[in-house]
């Protein structure tokens, strides 16, 4: 167990300076993560805020033996985004602590849109993932979309690496059936080996 790492994450819920350091370190990854999933710049701003609010409110749940702070944050982000989509499907709107879209100016909006443009192919893949069951989707999202290793993705989701590998093999075939060649090839080429 890496105690300093654990303390560092736990403190973001209590210490604004600790939060700032964490935010500056992980903001780019969170923004890319969101851009791989949503095409609306204002929603992307909202979700970016949501992810950090959730991380702050949930900081005490971080455990170093279940992965790096960055991996943990990706798990938080995945849950926040998935929850948003479930709400949308049921025509409910989220009540937000911090409204990200309210903070966006024209320059920032353009940057968010650029990020969203870059991630267009990734969003096609994300859409294809809707075809597989939720518990399998979480793993392939983190591996195929966000570039985590099988071991890291398994740690984020609290499953054994060997279990993760089995689920990934199963869901990869399903996802490929829903993709056109470039993306299907990319999914076929995923490294699903479990690192020692």
């Amino acid at each position: 167990m890496d105690e300093p790492q654990t303390t560092e994450v736990h403190r973001i819920g209590e210490d604004p300076d600790a939060l700032e350091a964490f935010y500056r370190q992980h903001l780019p990854a969170v923004q890319r993560f969101v851009a791989r999933r949503v095409s609306d710049a204002h929603l992307a701003a909202d979700l970016t805020a949501d992810v950090f609010v959730a991380a702050i409110d949930n900081a005490r749940s971080y455990r170093a033996d279940r992965g790096s702070p960055g991996g943990w944050l990706m798990g938080v982000a995945r849950n926040v985004v998935a929850s948003e989509f479930r709400r949308q499907q049921r025509h409910r709107s989220a009540e937000r602590r911090i409204s990200g879209r309210r903070l966006v100016d024209a320059d920032a909006l353009a940057r968010i849109e650029d990020r969203i443009d870059v991630e267009r192919e990734a969003r096609e893949l994300y859409a294809a993932l809707a075809a597989i069951p939720e518990r399998d989707r979480a793993l392939i999202e983190l591996v195929a979309l966000d570039g985590l290793s099988v071991t890291d993705a398994a740690a984020v989701l609290g499953v054994k690496p060997a279990t993760a590998r089995v689920r990934l093999h199963r869901s990869r075939a399903r996802v490929q059936a829903h993709l056109r060649p470039p993306l299907a090839d990319a999914v076929a080429a995923l490294n699903l080996e479990v690192q020692p």
Binding site: I12, G13, E14, T48, A49, D57, V76, D107, E134, G158
Partner: protein
């Protein structure tokens, strides 16, 4: 750490708001001590129903705790009826779609298409330590096991165990365990109360399955 571009206007404004959010959560911001009397009740809409009730007093300085277990279940402790948004956010971070409303007199009505039925918390604010009672409008007590919430077969005993939420009094307030089956699933957990700050209130945990 690597060198990064400076924050833009949005990123700076968000940082400012997040810092404020952390500052308002800090222990120094704890509110004056306030004791309340609550009753607790747990119910699962459409899937299963379980109720544990009793009176308790809650502390205001630590509103809630969300503690993921090694087996994937999530233990939730509510020690004060404050920071509903924070609890909702913490549960979302664990993959549980939750709606927390400490101001509601009644739980929200199911959406059209839900077959879960409705639950009414019949306890009146100020009624003391007695537990709340629940009435299922579409499945009165004593009826045979209803069909599954989505028109499928009735839940098995194992499934019923998995979807049951039992709310218990604990030293800090009320505690309940959300099964790992609620994580990243088609269920939504409603945590609602009745009553105002200075009166009695009930806590109700409902699990709603969407078809």
């Amino acid at each position: 750490m690597t060198t990064r571009a400076p924050l833009d206007g949005f990123e700076n404004a968000l940082l400012t708001e997040l810092r404020q959010h952390v500052a308002t959560r800090a222990p120094a911001a704890a509110r004056p001590r306030l004791r309340r009397r609550l009753t607790a009740a747990g119910a699962a809409l459409g899937a299963a129903v379980a109720v544990t009730a009793g009176g308790l007093a809650l502390r205001p300085d630590a509103a809630f705790a969300v503690d993921p277990q090694a087996n994937g279940d999530i233990v939730v402790t509510i020690s004060s009826l404050k920071d509903a948004d924070g609890l909702e956010s913490a549960l979302r971070a664990q993959g549980v779609d939750a709606e927390v409303d400490y101001s509601a007199d009644l739980p929200p009505a199911p959406e059209p298409g839900d077959n879960g039925g409705t639950v009414t918390h019949s306890e009146q604010p100020g009624s003391g330590d007695t537990g709340g009672t629940l009435e299922r409008h579409d499945a009165p007590k004593g009826t045979p096991a209803p069909a599954g919430p989505c028109g499928d077969a009735p839940p098995t005993a194992a499934e019923r165990d998995q979807s049951t939420v039992s709310v218990e009094r604990s030293g800090d307030g009320v505690t309940f365990t959300l099964s790992k089956s609620f994580v990243d699933s088609d269920t939504q957990v409603h945590i609602t109360t009745s009553g105002e700050d200075d009166g009695a209130a009930g806590i109700m945990v409902q699990v709603e399955k969407h078809c």
